[in-house]
Symmetry: D2
Subunit: 142 residues, 4 copies
Amino acid sequence: MEKKNKTISYVKKVEVAFSDIDALHIVWHGKYVKYFEDAREGFGKKYGFSYMDFYNHGFMTPLVDLQLSYKKMVEYGENLSVHITYVPVDAAKIIFTYKIFNETDDIVCIGKTVQVMTSVSKELIFVNPPFIQEWKKKWLTK
Amino acid sequence: MEKKNKTISYVKKVEVAFSDIDALHIVWHGKYVKYFEDAREGFGKKYGFSYMDFYNHGFMTPLVDLQLSYKKMVEYGENLSVHITYVPVDAAKIIFTYKIFNETDDIVCIGKTVQVMTSVSKELIFVNPPFIQEWKKKWLTK
Amino acid sequence: MEKKNKTISYVKKVEVAFSDIDALHIVWHGKYVKYFEDAREGFGKKYGFSYMDFYNHGFMTPLVDLQLSYKKMVEYGENLSVHITYVPVDAAKIIFTYKIFNETDDIVCIGKTVQVMTSVSKELIFVNPPFIQEWKKKWLTK
Amino acid sequence: MEKKNKTISYVKKVEVAFSDIDALHIVWHGKYVKYFEDAREGFGKKYGFSYMDFYNHGFMTPLVDLQLSYKKMVEYGENLSVHITYVPVDAAKIIFTYKIFNETDDIVCIGKTVQVMTSVSKELIFVNPPFIQEWKKKWLTK
């Protein structure tokens, strides 16, 4: 019997700031890492899945993998929508995918992050702690 | 008859600054993008392959792909060595791989960047311009 | 006969992001420079006084003076209001003052910026160009 | 009877990186805050006066005042020298002044920072703790 999950996601609006652009007059590629993080924060607030939610349960969630593909240059003054989607996995990992659109709905960047869980003393956790299992039941069950 | 290229690389020393670390007291994952860029700049200066060298020939080299894998958390005060290696390809692309080591020679991060070439008016270039072909002959031929 | 100007100002809302805080778990002091810039951008858009408005008239407006006084530490998750006010002067300078409030209306930071005007070739301008005089007439006259 | 202190200072070398420059092709004004911090770190290491030295004694040293005056635009590829000087005061404050020079010994930026001391629970300290008094005796007495 097939198990199906709900897809949960969030959209973060980003206004490209003057200090986001580099000498080529396009958004500096490193800034997208911050846009992804801002989207994760928005997702975390919406779904009770933020850094602080984890920290209060005794966990940290460091990134172990980060991928970005840049599809279109973005200039000063553009408004972007960062779409973040949670990718369910059984392992004790947190995976998100990202799609960033400009105002004319062109994809400008796609990406993916993988986070692991550690104790606050930075020991890796291999099994999802109970509060994550409850969180999954609450949000992902159809 | 097999063609073999020389491997050219560069090592950039990085001292982790207070403002590189985040609230978890480890280097913020986005900072590594800057460490990679600093290594590319050092490589560019050493081999005549910098942003400005390209720009002076009428080209820009935006990133289209960025991958990072974090292997070990890095703390304030650590000294890192960013090893950057040029990966020869026939296409009009610039590929680098990266390995970052701490002082005890643990790998803390590996990564890869792919850049394309455009004209200064941001039109994509599909064939390596002559100055790149000369650069390759000069530096990569065994 | 006394000349009186209208006071024009703008309020920029800022949500403190995870990457804004430092290892002491407070907003890194350098981030406020960005909050000020974001407020100037918002002001610029509202009143037709942005970097691009100047650039399109052939001018740049580099900062020559920046002052910040920190009154209260700010933590992750706080929401700030950056109040920016234009300070009229006769000289060819652009002066803003800033007050940043937290959600309980405590002042957390005050500051001031002074910008000069240059041509795009970076020559200092000593007399306000006509478009600035018109702008002042439009917005500051009571 | 006049008390005279020795002047202690440190010079931090900074290479302007591509990501330090903004769309106007000059160093973004906010980057100088980081250059100042890097100089404080270098000073701290040289004289046993770093964030960590304070932290290990139970103190934090947040900035309460920051002033910068920009004297000359700085471009990509320039090499800067950040001169930091400790300004002795009797109060429980830490004051530094800064002068940044380019390669032709022009002053490009001057500035000042004021830090206070707090306990790790962020309570303000009004009297210099003993380790500071010893530090002053060691380094400042002629």
